[in-house]
């Protein structure tokens, strides 16, 4: 396969990446570092220190961290159970179960949680019927965290599931033969071997959660602004592309940090996502 012709096959993709990935990113820096008249300025980036911007960044960081941790806590046991059932080779089916919801529109799926979480909604009706106190979480940060967990849980389950399936069962048996109990086997063998999947899952949940504007829009009652909402409004409502780009550069700083962490753990450079 190592003939010259094959090398040329990468040209369309190389061209595409430069035109539609690299140059657009340079555009963000160009607009972010200039003012409306095209002069160099740092004011767009520094505007993150304005209270309203800084607050939106802090809330976004806080909510996305909470959702990432909860996603991890929910996903790890799930991935373990699923991978232990994997002997019959139904992994494809499990992945389909997580991909299938994508066929129902993402906005409608999130809006459906409004119906479920509302003060007079389905969940509260059930809670009242069994004489439990009602939840008042719609239009609060809790509802946003809920929406984040719902939307991004599959991105945590799948990478962890993938690494757990690849673990050699002989290693686990060897640990038990050498006298380790279940907890020790998990702590000393399974958990360390699954770190790449965990890291990959964390970035796959944290980045979209940190940068979302849709979930906060739909479930937060548009009262709670995340950094994503601020950027979106600068682009669509205020048409202030320079300010929007400047804030995006700040946002990208956090994305780059999580990309570097992933690169350190994901040495094959393949991504274990899907």
């Amino acid at each position: 396969m190592k003939n010259k012709f094959v090398k040329w096959l990468s040209l369309p993709y190389a061209f595409w990446s430069i035109a539609f990935v690299i140059i657009p990113l340079l555009m963000v820096f160009y607009f972010g570092l200039t003012d409306k008249s095209g002069k160099f300025t740092l004011s767009n980036i520094m505007s993150i220190s304005l209270p309203v911007h800084f607050k939106s960044l802090l809330i976004a960081l806080l909510l996305s961290l909470i959702s990432t941790v909860i996603c991890l806590l929910l996903s790890y046991p799930l991935a373990m159970i699923l991978s232990s059932m994997n002997s019959s080779g139904n992994s494809k089916l499990m992945i389909l179960i997580f991909v299938l919801p994508m066929w129902m529109n993402f906005l409608l799926r999130t809006l459906a949680w409004q119906t479920l979480l509302e003060n007079e909604g389905v969940i509260n009706t059930i809670l009242r019927a069994v004489h439990l106190p009602a939840l008042k979480i719609i239009n609060t940060p809790y509802a946003i965290v809920f929406g984040m967990i719902y939307n991004f849980l599959p991105f945590m389950v799948l990478p962890i599931y993938n690494v757990l399936c690849k673990i050699d069962k002989n290693l686990l048996n060897a640990a038990r033969d050498l006298g380790a109990n279940e907890v020790q086997t998990f702590m000393k063998v399974t958990l360390p071997l699954s770190v790449p999947g965990i890291i990959s899952g964390i970035t796959m949940v944290f980045v979209p959660a940190l940068t979302t504007f849709v979930i906060s829009d739909l479930l937060g009652g548009s009262k709670i602004l995340l950094i994503g909402n601020v950027i979106e409004q600068e682009f669509t409502l205020n048409s202030n592309w320079n300010l929007g780009s400047g804030l995006s550069i700040v946002l990208m700083l956090f994305i780059v940090i999580s990309m570097i962490i992933t690169a350190i753990f994901d040495k094959d450079g393949e991504g274990s996502a899907l």
Partner: protein
């Protein structure tokens, strides 16, 4: 006991993931337009669906975008994956790094970066700009699903075909292509799904007058969602569900019967 707990846990997560689907299907039969009141059972939203030209137009745009972007990104992504496998390690790492950018970057940044590109070069926003954006975020999914297949290939098979007198072209289509086809196909399917479900990147790269189902739904959030949208998504969901059951479960159950013999 532990097994029961495991099953309960899976069931709870399953309910969590699929409860919204159930809500949307119930809402599609709701005579009241409100999302929180049940106004009695009706089929009228399904009946009116086909005659709503603006929803049908958005559906057509969504499907055309998904099909075109999936086909084009599958073509570019597959040949790129073939080339990447044959590259030196340093070039390969660079290519994979670039491939990971749209995967790991925030959708909002990808969306606004493309928006700025089109603004800067004075490209008119419309169907073409959305298509270019969708191809861009779809190619990595194709590459990542084709690459593992290529790695499993036996390089000798291709060389053997050449030794036996096949042209490189023929050797590729008779030997290599059938082996990587499952990866190509799952890449195509993934790309199609991602394109259908995308809202954020479309939101920033669409022009006035063009709407996909996602952007149409978003524009209705404030004034109330047209219940015909629930009907349409229920139809799409059930169709895909049936297709997946036919494609995945039927052949598998056949296999199991054979194994038992």
């Amino acid at each position: 006991m532990a097994n029961v707990l495991k099953k309960i846990y899976i069931a709870l997560i399953f309910i969590f993931l699929y409860a919204p689907m159930a809500v949307l299907i119930v809402l599609s039969f709701n005579a009241s337009k409100s999302r929180s009141k049940w106004g009695g059972f009706t089929l009228k939203w399904y009946g009116k669906l086909l005659s709503d030209s603006s929803i049908m137009e958005a559906l057509f745009t969504t499907l055309a975008l998904a099909l075109l972007s999936a086909l084009i990104s599958t073509f570019i992504g597959t040949i790129a994956a073939l080339a990447i496998t044959g590259m030196k390690k340093s070039t390969r790492t660079l290519m994979m790094g670039i491939t990971n950018i749209p995967m790991l970057n925030a959708e909002i940044v990808t969306g606004i970066s493309l928006m700025l590109l089109f603004i800067f070069f004075n490209v008119k926003f419309g169907f073409t700009t959305i298509l270019l954006a969708h191809i861009t975020f779809n190619i990595p999914y194709v590459i990542l699903s084709v690459l593992p297949r290529i790695k499993q290939l036996n390089p000798s098979a291709y060389e053997a075909a050449m030794d036996l007198g096949a042209s490189p072209f023929k050797a590729f289509f008779k030997v290599v292509f059938p082996d990587i086809l499952p990866g190509v196909f799952s890449g195509l399917l993934m790309a199609f799904t991602m394109s259908i479900d995308d809202f954020i990147i479309t939101h920033f790269t669409k022009g006035a007058g063009v709407d996909t189902l996602s952007t149409k739904i978003y524009s209705q959030v404030r004034k109330g969602i047209d219940p015909k949208m629930y009907a349409l998504s229920s139809v799409i969901f059930v169709t895909v569900l049936i297709l997946l059951i036919l494609v995945n479960i039927l052949p598998n159950s056949g296999k199991k019967v054979k194994e038992k013999k």
